[in-house]
């Protein structure tokens, strides 16, 4: 499977954040989106996840194994700035909910909840309310959410922002394992993710004011 974007442009408010962004990610490949603050990395990722409307361009899944997917977003995991976990529920309840709610996409299965917690190095604290965890632990548990249900595409927005070096290495391992299972990853980051040789997309930042409708 491949994730193909052609000539994407998007705006926020009246600002055209980027234009003519194209990429093609194949199975087992990762694309790292780089650029300074405000260069539209997050916007690009949210556009790919269909969380923001695009002004022009196309995003599609190509190649084999695209049969079971009605939309690109349905084939994606999205790890945004916020963890999407409820503070009032225990970690296990959170993960169990997301596992049931996501369901597995075609072509893979997610791991069990305790295995996912072990994979992020926090096996023993599943019974605690999510709110009791430290910021770094919360982030790692949000990553465990990616493991409990299979999605071929991972969209990661600054995944390691609140993490120390060992957690970064752990996360790089998770992404590599995902890629080796034939998955794809699209990540926006400042820091190197430790994925080895990956293709990069440099965002220039602020393309233009989307002015022609009014001026």
């Amino acid at each position: 499977m491949r994730l193909v974007a052609e000539g994407l442009s998007a705006k926020r408010g009246e600002d055209l954040i980027f234009r003519d962004v194209s990429f093609d990610i194949g199975a087992g490949e990762a694309l790292v989106v780089k650029g300074p603050n405000g260069s539209g990395k997050s916007t690009l990722l949210r556009v790919v996840a269909d969380l923001l409307p695009r002004e022009s361009g196309k995003i599609r899944l190509a190649g084999g194994e695209t049969q079971g997917f009605d939309s690109v977003a349905g084939a994606c995991h999205y790890l945004g700035h916020r963890n999407a976990m409820k503070r009032e529920l225990t970690v296990e309840e959170n993960l169990r909910f997301w596992k049931a709610f996501f369901g597995d996409s075609r072509g893979g299965t997610g791991v069990a909840i305790d295995e996912a917690a072990d994979a992020v190095g926090l096996g023993g604290i599943l019974h605690l309310p999510f709110g009791y965890l430290s910021a770094g632990q919360q982030r790692r548990m949000a990553m465990a959410k990616l493991l409990v249900a299979w999605r071929p595409v991972w969209i990661l927005d600054e995944p390691t922002a609140a993490l120390d070096a060992s957690a970064e290495a752990m996360f790089a391992g998770l992404v590599k394992a995902h890629l080796s299972r034939g998955g794809l990853a699209l990540a926006a980051t400042h820091q190197p993710l430790g994925l080895g040789a990956v293709s990069e997309l440099q965002m220039g930042g602020f393309a233009a004011i989307f002015a022609e409708a009014w001026v």
Partner: protein, 266 residues
């Protein structure tokens, strides 16, 4: 590209903001003149007719009250059509139309309420009765105010237009339900008497000035709406230019490229 979208494209061409400014700039003085003419004739007719033998001079309030009430509903219909334009065709002018119609509609609704109340004092002996029609108009007024509040609360105009359009359509679906339930709740008022299948029940002597005033009010609405839309377009243009200025100041001498600043734009 199939035929349908070609048709839409032509429509969009016409309704491009710049073209709209040029077109409306040429048309609005004529609309204003027609409005003034109809008002002059209408007001003359209002005072030329004799008063009702039961209601006396107060019957003349009807000539303002009925057109205002009619416009309060027509304005909402205009907003509902604009809301469809926003959601289906994603047209920027539809946003502008829906947003600027709301305060005008609220004003006409308010006029209908106040004149209804003034009329009610000599007729019913009290300023306000909870009769079906007044109550429906009052609910409509509240909905207008809610829409205006929503528009003011959302800062991004594009998003305000979208959620506003959804609210307008939800309200549009609900207005018949509200009207029906309020009628059920209270059926004290006389039945609608201007438009009936067996012909108007109202005396033709009152009908003529009423119709002229209705046309005058409708023209007034469209004139005000066109002017308000022009203002809103200019306001957005100023906002865009300010944003451009802020961006180019932050980025040194190079200056930003304006995306797709199309052919034929000043």
């Amino acid at each position: 590209m199939n035929e349908q979208s070609l048709a839409i494209r032509k429509f969009s061409d016409l309704a491009n903001p710049t073209r709209f400014l040029a077109l409306s700039g040429a048309v609005w003085p004529w609309m204003a003149a027609a409005t003034a003419l109809f008002f002059a004739v209408g007001l003359y007719l209002c005072f030329a007719t004799v008063g009702d033998y039961q209601q006396g001079e107060t019957v003349r309030i009807m000539y303002v009250h009925v057109p205002a009430a009619w416009l309060s509903m027509m304005c909402y219909s205009v907003m509902a059509i604009s809301a469809l334009g926003t959601l289906v065709w994603r047209h920027p002018l539809a946003d502008v139309s829906a947003k600027t119609a709301a305060p005008i509609g609220a004003c006409f609704t308010f006029i209908a309420l106040v004149t209804g109340s003034l009329w009610g004092k000599p007729m019913w002996g009290t300023w306000w009765v909870w009769d079906a029609r007044l109550t429906s108009v009052f609910v409509l007024f509240l909905m207008y105010l809610g829409l205006i509040a929503l528009n003011r609360a959302v800062d991004d105009p594009a998003r305000a237009a979208k959620v506003g359009a959804i609210l307008i359509l939800v309200g549009f679906v609900n207005i018949p339900i509200i009207k029906f339930s309020v009628d059920w709740w209270n059926t004290l008022h006389q039945p609608a008497s201007v438009i009936r299948l067996d012909g108007p029940a109202i005396d033709p002597e009152f009908l003529r000035p009423l119709l002229v005033m209705a046309i005058a009010f409708t023209l007034l609405f469209f004139t005000l709406h066109v002017l308000a839309m022009r203002n809103e377009i200019l306001r957005r243009r100023v906002a865009t230019l300010r944003r451009l200025a802020a961006r180019s100041a932050g980025r040194g001498a190079s200056g930003p490229a304006t995306a797709g600043r199309g052919e034929g734009h000043p």
